[in-house]
């Protein structure tokens, strides 16, 4: 499967603009396979946020709109209300989901709006140069935590667990990782089907890697991704 390009990818936009080794491409590959596998390319509408996520604005061969920071969720909620037969996916980073757009995600989950939110958590504000995020682990050195992120700022922001507390009981909430593509594919398919088959809110946080800002090579990046699972366990959040 490594050498196969998903049918739902927009090949005209390749090579894409993500940095070499970026986790976004890995996540979008499994998203492409999920869409292909479910045979839903004609039904999907994709909304993408700001930051590195915006580079996905023409990544898939599905109608796509790129919007403002944190606002992909309400944009897709609005879309879905007026086009209920479509499957609306909101694609964003951890800054959008757990910072600036958290209020919108919490309320979409609380109302059980049938949209599927995909959060690429690479533990930093990557597009702006790797500043600390809410999900950055204590001790990590970034341009806005030059002495290492203080543990007083929290031990790592567990978004899916937070959303689970307020979400409708039928909402599908999960975490996966680019370091486990088969798991990721399964979770993405479930999140899409949750909307398609039972009209529920769904959210998948994807632990991702950022070799550019982490200043790590391929192996070290994936090692860190695996290490992240100790703080951010993968699987469905129940």
């Amino acid at each position: 499967m490594l050498n196969v390009i998903p049918k739902s990818w927009n090949v005209k936009s390749k090579p894409d603009l993500f940095c070499p080794g970026c986790g976004h491409g890995m996540a979008l590959k499994q998203l492409g396979f999920a869409i292909d596998g479910l045979g839903l390319q004609k039904e999907i509408i994709l909304g993408v946020d700001i930051g590195c996520s915006l580079l996905a604005w023409n990544f898939l061969d599905v109608p796509t709109v790129q919007t403002h920071h944190g606002r992909t969720t309400p944009l897709m909620v609005g879309y879905k209300m007026s086009a209920p037969k479509r499957i609306a996916i909101a694609y964003m980073g951890d800054g959008a989901a757990w910072g600036i757009g958290l209020q919108n995600i919490i309320h979409a989950a609380y109302r059980n709006n049938p949209v599927t939110v995909i959060v690429i958590n690479n533990e930093n504000f990557a597009m702006t140069g790797g500043q600390a995020s809410y999900t950055t682990l204590p001790g990590t050195v970034t341009p806005t935590s030059p002495l290492g992120k203080s543990s007083e700022l929290g031990s790592g922001f567990k978004g899916p667990e937070l959303v689970r507390q307020i979400a409708n009981k039928n909402a599908f909430i999960a975490r996966s990782t680019v370091a486990n593509p088969i798991h990721l594919l399964t979770m993405l398919k479930k999140a899409i089907l949750s909307q398609k088959e039972s009209n529920n809110f769904a959210l998948v946080e994807v632990l991702s890697i950022c070799p550019t800002n982490w200043k790590t090579g391929a192996k070290a990046s994936l090692d860190i991704a695996v290490e992240m699972e100790k703080t951010y366990p993968i699987g469905e959040v129940k």
Binding site: N10, I45, R71, Y79, S82, N104
Partner: protein, 348 residues
């Protein structure tokens, strides 16, 4: 016989949205626009074709509106004051992506709670509130009946020209009751899906790798704006034929000004009124034509200098000899008698 009803400005706005073919409203309660949300929800509760979402904040309301518009529905919000400020984020997206956002903004005074019923301090915000070049259509309603008509017109202009469109009112206009005759309006402009209208993939974005790419898009917007400006502008003139003095006012202040003109006319004062119905684009051509014949222009507004700046920039550079008096009462209304007193003071 045309239908006549005794209703409030906010009720007229709801009726206008329904008659324009709006299908969904997103909103957050805020005085003095709350009754528009309530009124729409009441309608949606009995009409299965209408939807609503009482959102978590105005930002979500604005982006919800844009989402529904992308899907092809006529969607809108109503807000005021600080809600109008928060809505600037989605409206900036709409402006650059040419999405037909419609907002009914019932102006109130100042930030935070400020005062909750009246001002004309949201003119600059409606026109210039985004990080763009202000390609927004802004109507100002001066009566309850006009609120109904302009809301219908706002949807049609938005979908025809694809610029975000506002109808400005205020709390007094929203809450006052008046007899309204529903005239037969032109058939509303139809809406259609924007994100997937052609059946294939469309990719919409406000992210550009090159400055030249954004510039090229903006040149296209400028060309559309310039081409359509003269079709969008609207104004009303009142007793201007022999006028030596001219009042320029909009919205509810223009209603008081109209009354003052009639009173002054009984005293044989040759005064008239120019009332912009669109504040942006602005009917400068007609204003200049009228202004050539008058001795003095009185700009009257419940803001410090928001209408004033527009009027003076429209008159600048033309051979207009009239003196200009700015009569400002920020965040406070005018009665006809107060306007008469101000006019007489400036023109003793």
């Amino acid at each position: 016989m045309p239908e006549r009803l005794f209703i409030t400005g906010n009720e007229a706005a709801v009726r206008g949205a329904v008659d324009a073919g709006a299908k969904i409203m997103f909103g957050y309660p805020i005085t003095p626009a709350t009754e528009i949300l309530e009124g729409w929800i009441t309608k949606a509760s009995v009409d299965k074709n209408l939807q609503y979402l009482q959102s978590e904040d105005e930002i979500a309301a604005g982006f919800g509106v844009l989402g529904s518009i992308l899907a092809g529905a006529k969607a809108f919000t109503a807000s005021a004051g600080i809600g109008h400020v928060l809505l600037q984020d989605p409206i900036a997206m709409a402006e650059n992506m040419r999405l037909p956002f419609v907002g009914i903004m019932m102006q109130r005074g100042g930030p935070s709670t400020g005062t909750v019923n009246f001002s004309q301090q949201e003119v600059d915000l409606a026109i210039h509130g985004g990080n763009g070049d202000s390609f927004r259509i802004v109507y100002s309603a001066s009566t309850v009946e006009e609120m109904y008509e302009l809301v219908i017109k706002a949807f049609s202009s938005a979908w025809k020209y694809r610029f975000p469109t506002f109808v400005l009112g205020d709390g007094y206009l929203g809450k006052m009751k008046s007899t309204v005759t529903f005239k037969k309006m032109l058939k509303p402009v139809e809406s259609r899906p924007i994100l997937s209208g052609s059946g294939g993939s469309t990719w919409l974005r406000n992210c550009f790798s090159k400055e030249a790419d954004l510039n090229q898009l903006l040149r296209h917007h400028i060309a559309d704006w310039t081409k359509n400006k003269s079709k969008i502008v609207e104004s009303e003139s009142f007793h201007i034929d022999d006028a030596r003095y001219l009042i320029v006012a909009h919205g509810l202040v223009a209603s008081a000004a109209k009354e003052s003109v009639l009173k002054m006319r009984t005293d044989r004062i040759r005064i008239g009124l120019f009332r912009p119905i669109t504040l942006n684009p602005f009917d400068g051509e007609y204003l200049r034509k009228i202004a050539k014949g008058v001795k003095r222009i009185f700009i009257i507004e419940s803001a410090y200098n928001q209408l004033g700046r527009i009027v003076r920039s429209e008159l600048a550079g033309y051979d207009i000899k009239a003196k200009i008096s700015q009569i400002s009462k920020p965040a406070e209304g005018f009665t006809a008698d107060e306007i008469i007193a101000e006019v007489k003071k400036h023109n003793a």
